[in-house]
């Protein structure tokens, strides 16, 4: 047992993120007034550096390499998701500064917390051990709680934060207890591979199942799957909008990364997957519930932010289809989930970016009616929002469409999931209905109200980047599919 510092090089992205976060905290104490804007650019530089490191590590990660006695792994799935997290962080850092400045809480800690949360996400998807998983999840979650509540003077922000925090901690309780049960029933195993090797004997005890499902429940909480979703609308609404986007995209993606990895290795035994009590069936039911409830609740929602929050719940449902398919042995399901996560990351960040863009400190303009006439007044932003909404609804030629297509395609390879695909498709129809409500407001109605958006160059840049990314993912998804697919071939 020795600590090999060289192993740390494999985790350069995470280290860069943490280091830059600390640097920002330090710089914060010296930065005054306008100089604070520079802190965001520090964060962006950190993200860019992390991206470079991810790209640099890609080739070497063709084969999975575990480090630190099996605590962490570097493989393509992890790097792929790392890219998504860092991109999410980067976009958040583009959207946030004007938003924070307008509302008067532009502190350096914010950017540092974004970076720390990202580091936590990175850890989550690299984790192959329950301890590292727990640490990653907590790093990510604690930072997310703080980010949610960081607009201290805003009651909604604080309320959202306390709800998110209490429920998150509650879920952590389940997670920890579940881990303890798994640890005990597997005869002292905490690493994924170890757990997997002991499954046959562990299943003798119902406590093992309890532990397994406690862990899954905690992760289902993070992805906001029904019935563990109830924090999401409130926290999403309460959080500052750029944070909402970050949470909806990053936290969810990280939790899905953990779920995929955990179910794909620790709980991959056929003893646990199949049968009507296996997690495939349980998650299939959850997926159906999640899609349906998320969409139904969104239909009559007039608050755009909340509407998008419900929609993000429903997207977790679609993603669960992929997870289930993957569990049922469909090889292309994992890349489909990954692709979906990436396209969803961009889409949802873009959508919340526009929500952040449109309001100002006095008037958040969160209601659908407030969006009337945007198509005439700001055609470019309206177009971007339309692209995001269509992508969320799964209409070509957007990344959201291809993601859904890819996911359903994978699920269709398993006859047990036909019903789930049909449910998913019907849900898509419902979802289009409410996404189009916003489009209706933007284009079909006129309003004489003056528009005073938060705006800002970095925001515009962020919207432009996300919109282009979403369209490119829809028109030329091939490359990304290849990247995502390359990890499934193993």
């Amino acid at each position: 047992m020795s600590f090999d510092a060289a192993q740390l090089f494999a985790y350069t992205p995470m280290l860069i993120l943490i280091g830059m976060g600390c640097l920002i905290l330090l710089a914060e104490t010296f930065a005054q007034g306008a100089a604070r804007a520079g802190l965001a650019w520090l964060g962006i530089a950190g993200c860019a550096g992390a991206l470079v490191a991810i790209v640099a590590g890609w080739a070497g990660a063709a084969e999975a390499q575990t480090h630190f006695q099996g605590m962490l792994v570097v493989d393509r799935m992890a790097l792929f998701l790392d890219g998504a997290f860092v991109a999410a962080a980067l976009l958040t850092l583009l959207f946030a500064p004007p938003y924070l400045r307008e509302r008067g809480f532009e502190f350096g800690e914010f950017y540092a917390m974004v970076l720390f949360a990202t580091a936590g996400m990175v850890m989550v998807v690299h984790a192959t051990h329950l301890v590292s998983l727990l640490i990653g999840i907590e790093t990510m979650s604690l930072a997310a709680y703080v980010l949610t509540g960081c607009w201290r003077r805003n009651l909604r922000s604080a309320e959202g934060a306390i709800k998110y925090f209490l429920m998150g901690a509650f879920a952590t309780g389940f997670l920890v207890y579940g881990m303890a049960l798994v640890y005990g029933t597997t005869g002292g195993e905490l690493s994924y591979t170890g757990i997997a090797s002991k499954v046959p004997q562990a299943t003798k005890s119902p406590l093992f199942y309890m532990g397994e499902y406690f862990i899954l429940v905690a992760l289902a909480f993070k992805v906001a799957a029904v019935p563990f979703h109830m924090w999401a609308p409130d926290a999403y609404e309460g959080a500052p909008t750029p944070v909402t986007g970050f949470m909806a995209a990053g936290v969810k993606a990280a939790a899905f990364g953990a779920i995929v990895r955990l179910l794909g290795s620790a709980f991959a035994s056929p003893l646990l997957v199949f049968d009507f009590t296996g997690w495939a069936s349980v998650l299939a039911v959850l997926a159906a519930l999640t899609m349906t409830l998320g969409n139904l609740a969104a239909i009559r929602q007039d608050n755009v932010k909340r509407l998008l929050a419900y929609s993000s719940i429903s997207h977790a449902g679609y993603l669960l289809i992929g997870v289930v398919a993957s569990g049922l042995g469909v090889a292309s399901a994992k890349p489909a989930v990954l692709f979906y996560l990436v396209s969803y990351t961009f889409t949802t960040l873009g959508a919340f970016g526009v929500v952040a863009w449109i309001g100002n400190r006095a008037d958040e303009r969160l209601f659908v009616d407030d969006w009337a006439g945007l198509g005439t007044k700001r055609p470019a932003v309206a177009l971007a929002m339309t692209i995001f909404l269509l992508s969320l609804g799964g209409v070509p030629p957007t990344g959201g469409f291809f993601g859904k297509f890819y996911l359903f395609r994978a699920a269709m390879e398993s006859p047990q999931l036909y019903w789930l695909v049909v449910v998913g498709v019907l849900n898509s129809i419902v979802s289009i209905y409410y996404y189009l409500r916003i489009v209706v407001a933007m284009y079909f109605r006129e309003s004489s109200r003056a528009l005073a958006p938060t705006d800002g160059t970095s925001m515009r840049l962020g919207l432009l980047l996300t919109a282009i990314a979403v369209v490119l993912l829809g028109v030329f998804p091939g490359t990304l599919v290849e990247w995502a697919g390359s990890l499934a071939l193993k």
Binding site: F170, K204, F214, V217, F228, M230, D275, L296
Partner: protein
Amino acid sequence: MTFNLRLIPLLPFLGAAILMLFGRKWKRDTVLLVAAGAIAGSCLVAVDAFFTALPAAASKGGLHDVVGTWMAAGSLKIDLALRLDALSGLLCLIITFIGFLIHIYSSGYMEHDPDYPRFFAYLNLFCGAMLVLVLGDSLPVMFIGWEGVGLCSYLLIGFWYSSSANADAGKKAFITNRIGDLGFLIGMFLLYQFTGSLNIPEITAAASGGGALMQTLFPGTIFAAPVAFWAALFLFIGATGKSAQIPLYVWLPDAMAGPTPVSALIHAATMVTAGVYMVARMHALYLLTPGAMAIVACVGALTALFAAIIGFAQNDFKKVLAYSTISQLGFMFAGVGTANFGAGVFHLFTHAFFKAGLFLCAGSVMHAMGGSGDITIMGGLRKKLPFTHGVFLVCWLAICGVPFFSGFFSKDSIISGAFGTEIFGEGLLWVGKAVGVVLMLAALGTAFYMSRLYFLVFTGSETRASDEIKHHIHESPGAMVGPLVVLAVGAALGGFIGLPGGLLDHPEWNLLADRLAPVLGPEMEVSRSIELGFMVASVVLALGGIGLAYLFYGGGYREPSRKFAAAAPRFVRLVQDKFRIDELYGLLIIRPIKRLAKGVFFVVDRILIDKILVEGSGAIVGVLARMARAVQGGDVQRYMAVFAIGAAGIVYLATRPSVPDVLKVTVSGLSVDVDARRGSKPASRVQDYSFDFDDDGKPEVTGAAPAAHHAYPRAGTYTVRVQVKDPNWGTSTSLKQKVEVR
């Protein structure tokens, strides 16, 4: 033999196109020149074709001209082809010649109309369409003309569009025609299906062979009849629409709303005879099926009588003529329906002249009377309109069947043909005689109402109209009178082309029959006694009708007519109201359809589909949505409670005992295979199974395998009991099933 037949319809079409595109800016003379020139040119080509080229080709199917393939799909191939034989050639001559006269007449009649060019464009278009109708070598090409003339009739009836009544009449004409066209279409389909062609010569050839068309259609039902019967019947439905026969005659009287030259050309001389022409053209088909022939003849005869009766009481000049036209068309159908095709066509020919003449006289009279056609205010016009009177007189005598005027010959040949026909076999022998009797009554009626018209309009000493109108009465201009005189000559002498030559031992004197023989077969042989007898009888009837009319109306309304009207007021009223057939149709067909459509629209479209199915499913989603949102109450502790319940539920679901609930038993001989399953699938969890094959408490097979095999020592009925234990929870389930081994 090919001939440039396409020129015949093309010239009027071109004229129409030119006038439509440029006519509005031209002077009236130019318009007339183009329009009349086109039809005159067409007439010349037709004359050339008929008299120069046709005789050589008459026995070989006439002149033929293929423009190109119109449409070909699958095994169906339709050429855009024209054919001129004696029958279609005769019609061509009638159409172009009378058409030309009416063009000339119209130049006077429409002189002051602002839409002069449009009128002539329509007239040209009509002539073109009519020529396509008669020249068409296949039924679909014929159908182009068939519908084309309907369209022109629609346009011309509604020519003075600003009056809703005119437009309504046009629409009524078109739609009634379309009802017939539906029959025509179905007839075509039947012929296509059973002969594989829509080409008239090919159908004729197939009909001569008989075979395919004599198959029984709808065997075993009350509709069982040969194909030929149905095809002929459906085609005849088309004819009843176009030629205004019962039950589709109702449009023709209304069609009189159009300009009078139109009534003369379209609704007397040409278009309405298309049905007769079509039956004659398809005579080979009709000859196959006496049943259909009987229907044609009976409908024709009944229409002839029925329309004549309505004619008794009409007070509008043109309406009387309209019913007269319907009646005369009935005569023609009776003619062709009794297989006396030549006579039918002969009457068509003579009728074209005298009826066109009558209508043009009507136009002239109305022109003089300031546009009014009310015969109750006319009278004594003999002196004021001498030319018109002269022409009317000739035409009147012709239609009444006074000897040696054209109508005499043609009508007589129909009536005697009806009595003499031998086409109807067993069971239908009565048809010929009955038709003949009805036709004689109709002839009597014709003489009566036409004489009534003549007496009321032209005789008497004084016009009954207001002074203002009286003051304006004047003879029409030369452009109108000229054509009248030509038509009068035709009406007087036209009968001589169809002299009953057989009667005089000179069959070759019957020029018409001679010419038509290659097309329609030899003229029907009617015994001399019958022919002579009915000739005398019809003369008596004609004179009787005229005499009766004189008694009633000579020189104006006389005492007997008033007495009669007073004696049976309700009957007179009923006849005046045309037996209220229009109202009956409205009540029985049109209004129910409209009501039904409206009702269905509201019930099915608005309520059932839109409200219940579409908005209903939307509403269900809406309710669910409200429920979904209601759960989200804002209290974080409730959220956590849901979380905890959800977690507990999942843990319960995931750890609840997973035990089989079905036994799958396969018996072969004395041995059985038992498989314990959950639903249809084997359970994947580890379980402990114990199989007790004879239910004696001592399991034969135990272990983790869900299936077991056992061989019984002897046949009998056993109970298999399987005990399943879940090691996780220590629970156990037992399943049992009866097995019978032999």
